[in-house]
């Protein structure tokens, strides 16, 4: 893995956004060959989304030939509820960029047949040629997407019942009324994300530090599902200093020492202006 450690949240968001930008531009997506991007929601990636929007508005990055696949969505929450992941993606990303709506895929938590919806999502990913870069986050309990502790590490897109920890963590978005928090979600599986060509996990904040430790310094364990990515050939963890608080000094020093190598991935930063006339 690469462990990219930046000082603060803003720098981590920017590094991640630059990396995503460079990967898309390097790919040179066209109408015949789309770039497939997996996307997360939550407070962690919002800084990264802001930077991506900036790059789009400055004309350096277009999402015209990008297909997106979000990781998850609540079951039973009306799509236009302010806390639905559809709302999050619209307000924080889609409405500011030039993506074709037909190419923005989010699981439908109100589908009449959830099982079919999940299978269809897997099919859409396959039809897109697989995900080129899957961006994700990590929960305080080490979960990726809604693959709660105990989820199979080879799981596919399916319905999951949320762990108590997750429900408690989400309560703040529902007026601290536990009865209003959704208890189920549709989520890509650990296996689904593992199939991606490349995975970028954004982890910021001291409250995520223990989960990061469990994910990268302990063994592969279905109780900390992000640990599965130890077995992925191309994973990048982008974090801020606070997220490294539970890691061994040796680990942190080693990867900080590699920053000059890591930074070659984002410097120079490419622009679509170079090849779009």
């Amino acid at each position: 893995m690469r462990l990219v450690i930046l000082e603060e949240y803003d720098q981590a968001s920017e590094w991640a956004a630059k990396y995503i930008r460079n990967q898309i531009i390097k790919f040179r997506p066209t109408a015949d060959r789309f770039f497939a991007l997996g996307l997360p929601t939550g407070s962690t990636p919002s800084g990264c989304y802001k930077k991506l929007i900036e790059y789009h508005k400055s004309g350096d990055l277009s999402f015209k030939y990008v297909k997106t696949f979000n990781m998850d969505e609540y079951v039973g929450l009306p799509r236009n509820h302010p806390e639905s992941y559809h709302s999050y993606m619209w307000n924080n990303f889609f409405k500011h960029i030039d993506i074709d709506p037909a190419n923005a895929h989010i699981l439908d938590g109100n589908a009449s047949d959830l099982q079919t919806e999940c299978e269809a999502f897997e099919r859409k990913i396959a039809e897109a040629g697989g995900i080129d870069l899957f961006v994700g986050g990590i929960g305080p309990d080490g979960h990726i997407a809604f693959n709660e502790p105990g989820s199979s590490l080879v799981s596919r897109t399916r319905v999951k019942t949320l762990a108590k920890d997750t429900i408690l963590a989400n309560a703040r978005f529902f007026g601290n009324d536990l009865s209003k928090v959704p208890t189920m979600a549709l989520t890509v599986g650990v296996g689904t994300v593992m199939d991606a060509q490349e995975v970028l996990i954004l982890i910021t904040g001291a409250h995520k530090a223990f989960a990061l430790y469990k994910a990268i310094e302990e063994g592969v364990n279905h109780m900390w599902t992000v640990s599965a990515f130890q077995q992925h050939p191309r994973t990048i963890f982008v974090c801020d200093e606070d997220a490294t608080l539970e890691l061994r000094v040796k680990t942190v020093k080693y990867f900080k020492g590699l920053m000059h190598v890591h930074n070659k991935l984002v410097d120079p930063v490419s622009t679509m202006k170079d090849y779009i006339n």
Partner: protein, 385 residues
Amino acid sequence: MPSNKSVSDSQIIQFINCRILKDHLLQREDLWVRDGKFLDPEKLFFDEEGFADIRVDCNDSIVAPGFIDVQINGGYGIDFSLATDDVSGGVALVAKKILEHGVTSFCPTLVTSPPHIYHKVLPEVKVHDGGREGAGVLGVHVEGPFISPQKKGAHPEMFLRGFEAGGVRDVLETYGCLDTVAMVTLAPELAGSPAVIQDLAQRGITVSLGHSVASLSQAEEAVRQGATFITHLFNAMLPFHHRDPGIVGLLTSDRLPAERTVYYGMIADGIHTDPAALRIAHRAHPAGLVLVTDAIMAMGLPAGRHTLGQQVIEIQGLHACLAGTKTLSGSIASMDMCLRNFRQASGCSREAALEAASAPGPAPGAQPPEGHPGLRHRCRLRVAG
């Protein structure tokens, strides 16, 4: 990129670089329109997988609902209470002119007049949506003749009347056809008024209380029967008294049907209402405040003598009085002047001022509430700097 046409073939217009009035706040958001209706862009994106055919750059302007004037007697030399040969032409002229003030919907208002005037004028006024040619007509506001002789203001006494024939019959005899009537101002203390109010409300006509010496309980009864509006608050009604606040007390009455909002017209020309009084009303019941001009035909005309209905009035500066008296006979301030005056006097936010001049904004697609003639109308937009 156009939509997948699953809902409509019409073009989608996206207004960018603008501030819109949404959820009672001016927010930097794009505005989406198709077929003259607001679109929810999120729904458009996910359901129809569509977006804009045309983008209009608003250069950082405010896009706000058009102003609604439910009490305007005329302007630019046109007097709605005069039965001329070209009533619709007169209405159209005013409609076009007030567009410049930001008014996109209005109720041509007739002061107390003899029946033959109503019979001639009312059928000639067409209710229609506005557009480039001028503001839309919501319907006529008939202010009188069923009002109190003690609070007639500038209305001609000889044409005032009560409900002698039982109420509804008097109404039909006086006005003739009610098809084009959107609003009626009457005095609820007149005998027989409850039945009239009920009947008018059931026809979907806004009943407004004014030119009256009603007590608070008479006013409350009127609201229970279906009245939802107060005509130019403070003017032509009993002054607030602490043991019987009269019509003014409706602003804070707790004896009204639940969920009912009482709206009150306010002439904020700086003359008809002292800013302190305006503030008292606004603070007591901000949600009900509706800016009206009560403009007379002299609005837009130079100083001097002019005719209003069957009377002669005199203009000096922003004052318009019955010739030879100090009785105010209407205002000559335009809606945008009123809005600025109101904002300054009340110290309210820009958003609150904009809503007072248009209508408490319904969200795009939402059903507007009842009780205000403007609310039933599709929201028109104006672009302001």
